[in-house]
């Protein structure tokens, strides 16, 4: 069921590459790179924004970012401690947390990390773990461009 190596992330349709105010969401990335590896799923975010009152949506985004940061911190500690099972559990949480609000790249990296842990590929998992930090930084920057979350 799992995968130890990272394929192109599966399918959520990629957003148009622009925020509602017309700025590039993933500034600094080429369009080709975005299509291969989208940082945010803009459609999911737009739908939640339309669905919820503005204050609730804002709370949701802030909670999302805060939860993801805390989880990332715990994951770094687990990696330092060489706790493969814990890394796998935290990757599972990060996959769910990030994916539910469209942080597509973090979700994909977390899914691969979870799979590597589940299959007992410790060396691969520990090598892969820092990629989440990178993906998370990109996602938070992209969310910041949209909503000013930092």
């Amino acid at each position: 069921m799992g995968r130890a190596k990272r394929p192109t992330p599966p399918g959520p349709p990629h957003h148009e590459g622009r925020s509602r105010n017309g700025e590039n969401i993933d500034a600094g990335e080429s369009r080709a790179e975005e299509d291969k590896d989208p940082i945010l799923d803009g459609k999911v975010l737009d739908d939640w924004e339309d669905f919820l009152p503005a204050d609730q949506f804002r709370e949701l985004i802030d909670a999302q970012v805060q939860g993801a940061r805390e989880c990332l911190q715990s994951l770094k500690i687990a990696v330092e401690n060489g706790a493969l099972d814990e890394v796998g559990e935290l990757a599972h949480v990060m996959k769910s947390t990030s994916g539910s609000l469209g942080m597509s790249q973090v979700q994909a990296v977390a899914a691969d990390l979870e799979a590597a842990c589940g299959e007992g590929h410790g060396a691969i998992a520990f090598e892969m773990a820092p990629n989440i930090d990178d993906a998370m930084t990109k996602a938070i920057n992209a969310l910041d461009k949209r909503y000013g979350v930092q």
């Binding site: 669905f51 949701l60 999302q64 539910s100 899914a111």
Partner: protein
Amino acid sequence: MVDDTSHARELTLLFLTRLGVHQVHAAADGREAQEFLEFSGDRIDLIICDWQMPGMTGLELLQKVRANDPDMPFIMVTGNTDVDAVKAAGELSVSAYIRKPYSPRQFEEKLMAVLDKV
């Protein structure tokens, strides 16, 4: 609602509340959900369940639910596209899948489609 991730439970609860659904029982894993189904005495209209959970998976919970109630509406929330796993859930008459990440609109459409069949 069954999900091992508190964030996912909160998000689903937010979604359901916004739709006007106010009686929601949240379970953190399949065993807790199974106990609730067996002992609560409440009428359950719908189960929304994450697929991949430690202890008892969504598929295992679906098996147990189907053993007692072949018609219980059961929506599986999943990032899993493994063909064999999807086939297994289909054989157990899962009512619908929601693939993560889901938008509220997609979720609402699935939910209404499932409830329309009841």
